[in-house]
Symmetry: C2
Subunit: 366 residues, 2 copies
């Protein structure tokens, strides 16, 4: 059977290896496996969110409130925006998908950084759009502006902070850039890791309300998957002016998040103390990764997320390192598929991180 | 901002009213509200599935196994097909979306029954495809064949049994029809309510293995949302030959179901006794709805699902009836948006159904 020709261009997204796979492949006891590959919150979710999942288990047969009234109310208060300026997705991934389905097609161009979240490219290719990638290693807004002027893309992606590298544009430079973009171009500010960036440096903080009031062609994406510790529940959101939200709602499937997910996100949002603990642990433990790299003469990218990227030079090889760690029950992300001799490590708990250093020492001592 | 012109044609799907909305609008105690609007299993999920959601609440921060190995294994055993012939979706809705994104575009035609599951049309319009609707009230395969020969659609939808009407094509007539369709046309056999149909009449049972072995251009859709009682967890599946599954996997977003959903579906599938109880309750209680309609001289469509459609004639009006019931805390589905003077009632528990009959008596006695 033949399918749409756009499919020929799509490479399936390669997710971080799940613990279950390592159990199956290497026969390691699941309790021994440490996964620092998918930027999950090592402290888990807020206890209140967990409790709400348990409470809602007996509601598993009931579809969620498809208006998502209570969650939108919560986000509306948190960000001081109108509930009509909010859309909920199965992770902020799904909001990316909505934006592309609503705004892009085979005649469109989509502009993004050279090395950034892989789904921007994958979703764009699904609709046959042309990908314009900047050439700089990190987001370089001068280069973005030139490419914007040359190509007039329908959509521009800014990942703030950037995944998988960790660098982060400042608010001022983003706002300056947005001032030069016409109102027909949708600019997607992906704030999946904003809670971590803000905690490290307030000049990186993007306030969605200020963003959309200043630039009605921008959309802010947030997620419950990272600092909120609900990666397994698939809840994210977009904040934009109502005309954009109305368009995205047209391509949203009904019941796009689960009944326990909705309840968990509502409770997680209330527990800002958990976010504080999460970002503090992250800052403290990140420092240990920097110190370790420095002590071994390994380069790294200063990170504003909950992960750190180590950059290797010959003879160190990211694939050999990732494979070595995997056999020892430690899963990290090899960035070879991004064309980099690098690994991305999620900042874990103290003991998880110590285990990483021990295993890395072992690898180096081989 | 302008968006893709295909959006102009899309009407947002109208979901059954959630209990939360009725609480907000009418101030009724949530415990008093009975929802027979969304074909949820009134017996709830299998206790084993509920237990697995509770167990997985502390894994809320962990992404699910994106290969969905264990669930595919379970379905593979249940249906005697290869795991590579299975794809998992956030409800079978999402598999419908994958099929349309992989196979249809603005040059395509999609053939479906006049009154059938609304998402077939909505997803098709999202890619700009032309909708060809049969004119018969129920699925009429002679008419489908004529329309197929005239229009050469890329995709044909057969909803077996049909939602929202409840009628059901037999296996033999479907297979005869498929024998006349060329191998380039994707035929989607939506079996969301198959467990109920099978329990009532084995001649309606579609065996996915036999289906795809006989017709490599067919895909079978199943769901955990209906008989399995996991509507709120969003898990469905498609079964097709590997070339079709490979194409659909290209348009599947990663982590498209939640961590507790994956665990719950695996356990629910094992509890076939729960399916037996569910379908037996349905058959027994359906009979009461038929008897009630007969006693009041109301027409109904004999149903093979877990719902029944009452067809009204003047002066009875479905909107007035739905509004009356709603104010009394009973939510059913008004089919006015389908152009019908009819309501669809989900078959509930004995006490829920008795409450429906009491309220309907009250309405008639006004």
């Amino acid at each position: 059977m033949t399918f749409n020709s756009t499919l020929n261009l799509i490479q399936t997204y390669e997710a971080g290896k799940p613990i279950e796979l390592v159990v199956r492949e290497f026969g390691i006891d699941p309790k021994e496996i440490i996964k620092l590959a998918s930027n999950e919150n090592p402290l888990g979710a807020s206890p209140k969110a967990i409790e709400s999942i348990v409470k809602n288990a007996t509601n598993a047969h009931l579809y969620p409130d498809d208006s998502m009234f209570a969650l939108k109310e919560g986000l509306s208060k948190h960000y001081q925006v109108n509930p009509k300026e909010i859309i909920i997705g199965a992770g902020s991934d799904q909001i990316i998908e909505f934006c592309i389905h609503a705004k892009a097609n085979e005649n469109s161009k989509v502009l993004m950084a050279k090395t950034t979240f892989a789904m921007y490219e994958i979703y764009s290719k699904m609709v046959g759009a042309t990908i314009i990638k900047a050439q700089s290693q990190f987001h370089n807004l001068e280069e973005f502006l030139e490419l914007y002027q040359t190509h007039k893309p329908s959509i521009i992606f800014l990942c703030v902070p950037n995944n998988p590298l960790g660098e982060c544009l400042g608010k001022k430079e983003i706002f300056d850039f947005l001032g030069k973009i016409d109102s027909e171009t949708l600019v997607i500010i992906d704030g999946a890791y904003q809670e971590y960036a803000k905690a490290k440096d307030t000049s990186k903080a993007i306030d969605p309300k200020e963003l959309i009031q200043s630039f009605p062609n921008a959309i802010y994406l947030g997620t419950f998957s990272k600092a909120y510790g609900l990666g397994g529940m698939r809840v994210g959101y977009g904040i934009a002016k109502e005309d954009i939200i109305q368009a995205l709602l047209k391509v949203r499937p009904p019941f796009n998040i689960t009944t326990p997910s909705l309840a968990a996100a509502i409770e997680a949002l209330k527990d800002q103390e958990h976010i504080h603990q999460t970002t503090q642990n992250n800052l403290e433990q990140m420092k240990l990764y920097e110190d370790y790299a420095n002590s071994k003469g390994i380069s790294y990218i200063p990170s504003y997320g909950n992960f750190i990227t180590y950059l290797f030079e010959n003879p160190l090889n990211s694939t050999l390192i990732a494979d070595y760690l995997l056999k020892k029950g430690m899963i990290i992300r090899n960035l070879a598929s991004y064309g980099l001799n690098a690994i991305r490590i999620t900042i874990g708990t103290k003991s998880q991180n110590q285990r990483f250093f021990t295993l890395f020492d072992e690898f180096l001592g081989q």
